[in-house]
Symmetry: C2
């Protein structure tokens, strides 16, 4: 077994964590650009120095072939990658580590693990890439369980079957983005689901959390790409029928999609795949007024043009991501097709942009490049920054800086009030808890005819030992504002344990009761990811 | 109160039921074109001559302002419009009439009716247009109920609010297609949901049954147009949040969409509306080989062109609907947009058609006509036949002819085997039960990148008093074939009571348990539309 190259506490590869000099330089930039001071960079507690509570469970004989109470495995499966996860991991605090970690190699082993856990009142935490930012994989489950068993599904990572006629592929839930894309590429196909977690997160995790992907319109969530599912619950295994569509009762897939492990462990799915796009058009438009940029995006979202990329970055976000330094808001616009040239759609989109005062000083790029990846200007710059973002956050944690993101969706009629209210709430909270101004930026990740999905980034000064308390106050202010102003607590980051108090305000009480009823039917002992979606008193 | 102009047993308006001479002529055409003999036309049992079982329930004082045990009201709320419904209604058999009919004028009255029913073990049958073809509104509920209360929601028919910025409208569930479209037109908007039931069915019924609408691609089902719902259950009222999208847990709306009254009565919904299209392009393509036509439609469905109309009629269907008499299969193709001309999309679509050997002898029509309705060639001919279809079925019932439709969806890789198997099963069943050849035709109503939604029509000779038994044998053969060959029991006609045995084979057992668990939470006494979706032993 080779050493795991990923960080035991931070985002991604351990060797991407910058050295002391680089981080010191970064702190200087932070002060210069955002006016937010970093503290002297510290080193994370090394894996060897982490101390853990003893496991409360012995490895059961029936699961011994794929289950361990190994210290490193327990450390590595304690957290997702939320801000408080990073801070606690950095400081060597792994108090909530699972008692056991299973790594099933077959669905039968998943079934065995889930049945054993149900029989022994052990909570089951499904685990894919461990990239949750909402506490979805942290084994904090309350006192009524004998212990916790994290089930890491990453050994189930195969594309099992491809139906090129229907453009469908049967893929195991533990496949990460690169692993499944590599296997699909052999068939000339792609899932084209590229969330920020692409490199590490798994198909099952995306489905369980309703991940948002590449496409800014139409197939925005992984939900839309699911043709059928296989799910393991304590009471059995469910296989939904592989269909393009059906009107037979409530959609079965839609009950499990977004259930975050509380109604079963997804083991595989038939996914809608496609050939790589051949034609692409891209442009970036600049706006000097935010309101005009928003109006342009609304018109585009309601045009029926269905751009693949329609990401609006406010001037602060554009600065942060290195795509604009002149104080303009930037719209990254892209069309792609495997069937036909995209010039005409882009031309009409740019006419809409121009009608709203947007300028395209860099012109438009049209490409006809078969399967080549190629460079696509500012969208490419933005994409690199997008995938590097979590590494930056990890580095900032070592400098005591509070940096995090949150995201939502809201109807267009409420957007202006929401945006003003959220930015004010976050800024005020930052001043209240840090005594100094912070930074708040906004982009739209996905857009719909009836509203945008705004995504906010905030940066605030930290104080050693108080980062989590400060973060909690800012996060609560943001979440309160989202709910009060008619938005959702999450467009694609899921609920987990951290968003639960606000989810509770958002969803109808009757829906919580329905979910709890469904859960009791599928999981009578309530061992599946307890505390997620439903609080202990609701389950 | 004016007399109800609708038929008490047949489709739509009573005055559209053809007179004896017309029906005799129709029988001759049937014999000449399809070779299927009609029996001498009979007259339906008049409303005045229908005898009913006495109501088992007295009108409760608390509901008296909007509830009745009136004989005509009970007759008119006994059936949907399935083939066996028509036959029984024609013969004056209304044995399963509801005991009471409520017509609430406010949501509070819906709540009162549902609570009273739950308190008194009375089954509640939600009723909109009464156009169910699957027994969804027939009060057959088993022995454990004290009686049945049909709740007709058509007094709740207002568009309550319009948000033109987000293109959303809050509409009461009892509004029929024309009634809601008229109100939306005052705002320059349209829902553009045109199922065959458009004139009579209601928004709530469409949502409860996942109705299929106008658009052949993308927003095929009413599901996609729902932004939020209000639902009344015995345990309370649910209001989902009005959002363009969310990733917070399983989608609440998707649990109620398609629940067919078993998880609550939908009282209103925020719906995604749009301006009327300004630009339209239409064409009809002819194919001499069915397999080539299917391949062309698959290529179109996978092209990303998203035609609004992409309806493939096989040669028999084309004949039946009067759009082709030369033995060719006909593809009706249309694009529409309120934002941009549709010539380019049509040109690319016709290139795909030509690649597959399709010919367009009538050329293409492009229009730029603001809000005018206008004529659009063969698509218009087809549309008129489409809306007239149910009247024709009603007339045939009086001639003892068995005529019905069923529909499904399946992935492309399985379509050829499904189609061959279904047509064979239906033909064989017709010969087995009638001793003579029948007629089976097929069209695609909606298409997806991963498969089509085929819609079958069959005609067979009847025999007085044996129509329902014959129909049941044919329907069972068709349904068995659908399930055995990997298709769904319904793409947009719902499950009701008639499809329940096949739905049971289609959906995973664990999903049925989850539904039953959800139902017990929302409706502890199990009074909501019992027998629909879940059989008595599953609920």
């Amino acid at each position: 077994m080779t050493a795991d190259p990923t960080s035991h506490w931070g985002w991604g590869r351990a060797d991407r964590f910058p050295d002391l000099d680089t981080r010191t330089a970064l702190a200087g930039q932070l002060q210069a650009v955002l006016g937010i001071p970093g503290l002297p960079p510290e080193a994370p507690v090394a894996l060897a120095d982490v101390t853990l509570p003893a496991s409360r469970l012995a490895v059961p004989a029936g699961l011994a072939a794929f289950t361990t109470d190994d210290r490193e495995a327990r450390v590595r499966h304690t957290y997702g990658r939320s801000y408080p996860d990073l801070v606690r991991g950095f400081r060597g605090d792994f108090a909530s580590a699972p008692d056991l970690v299973a790594r099933p190699r077959t669905e039968d082993e998943v079934v065995a693990a889930v049945r054993w856990a149900s029989d022994h009142d052990v909570a089951v935490i499904p685990y894919g890439g461990g990239t949750s930012v909402v506490g979805g994989v942290e084994p904090v489950v309350g006192p009524r369980y004998a212990g916790t068993l994290t089930v890491d599904l990453r050994a189930l990572d195969r594309v099992l079957e491809v139906d090129p006629v229907s453009r469908l592929a049967r893929i195991q839930a533990g496949a990460t983005g690169p692993v499944l894309e590599q296997q699909l590429a052999a068939h000339g196909l792609t899932l084209r689901h590229f969330p920020q977690s692409f490199e590490y997160a798994t198909l099952g995790g995306w489905i369980a959390t309703r991940a948002g992907g590449h496409f800014a319109t139409l197939t925005t969530h992984i939900d839309d790409l699911v043709a059928s599912l296989r799910v393991v619950a304590p009471t059995g295994v469910a296989q939904t029928r592989r269909l393009p569509a059906s009107g037979a009762g409530p959609a079965p897939d839609r009950l499990w999609i977004g259930s975050e492990g509380t109604l079963g462990l997804i083991t595989e799915a038939w996914m809608r795949v496609r050939p790589r796009p051949r034609w692409r058009s891209s442009a970036s438009a600049r706006f000097t007024a935010w309101s005009a940029a928003v109006a342009a995006v609304r018109a585009l979202a309601q045009s029926g043009l269905h751009p693949a990329n329609c990401r609006l970055l406010d001037r602060r976000e554009a600065l942060l991501h290195g795509v604009s330094f002149d104080g303009t808001d930037v719209l990254l616009l892209g069309f792609e097709s495997a069937d036909h040239p995209t010039e005409a759609a882009m031309a009409r989109a740019l006419a809409i942009v121009a009608d709203h005062g947007g300028a395209c000083p860099d012109g438009t790029t049209h490409r006809d490049d078969g399967a080549a990846a190629g460079h696509d200007g500012q969208a490419g710059t933005w994409r690199q920054a997008f995938f590097d973002g979590p590494y930056l956050q990890t580095a900032m944690v070592s400098m005591g800086v509070i940096v995090d993101t949150f995201e939502t969706a809201v109807t267009w009629d409420r957007f202006d009030a929401l945006h003003a209210g959220v930015v004010r709430a976050v800024r005020d909270a930052i001043v209240a808890v840090t005594g100094q101004k912070g930074f708040v930026s906004c982009r739209f990740t996905h857009v719909y005819p009836d509203g945008p999905a705004p995504y906010y980034t905030f940066v605030a000064a930290g104080a050693r030992g108080e980062e989590i308390a400060r973060w909690q106050a800012i996060k609560a202010a943001a979440s309160d504002a989202l709910i009060a102003l008619g938005a959702t607590i999450t467009h694609h980051h899921a609920v987990g344990r951290r968003h639960q108090p606000w989810y509770r305000q958002e969803r109808p009480e009757l829906f919580a009761r329905a979910l709890a009823g469904a859960r009791r039917s599928l999981d009578p002992k309530g061992v599946l990811n307890p505390g997620v979606l439903l609080a202990d008193d609701e389950a």
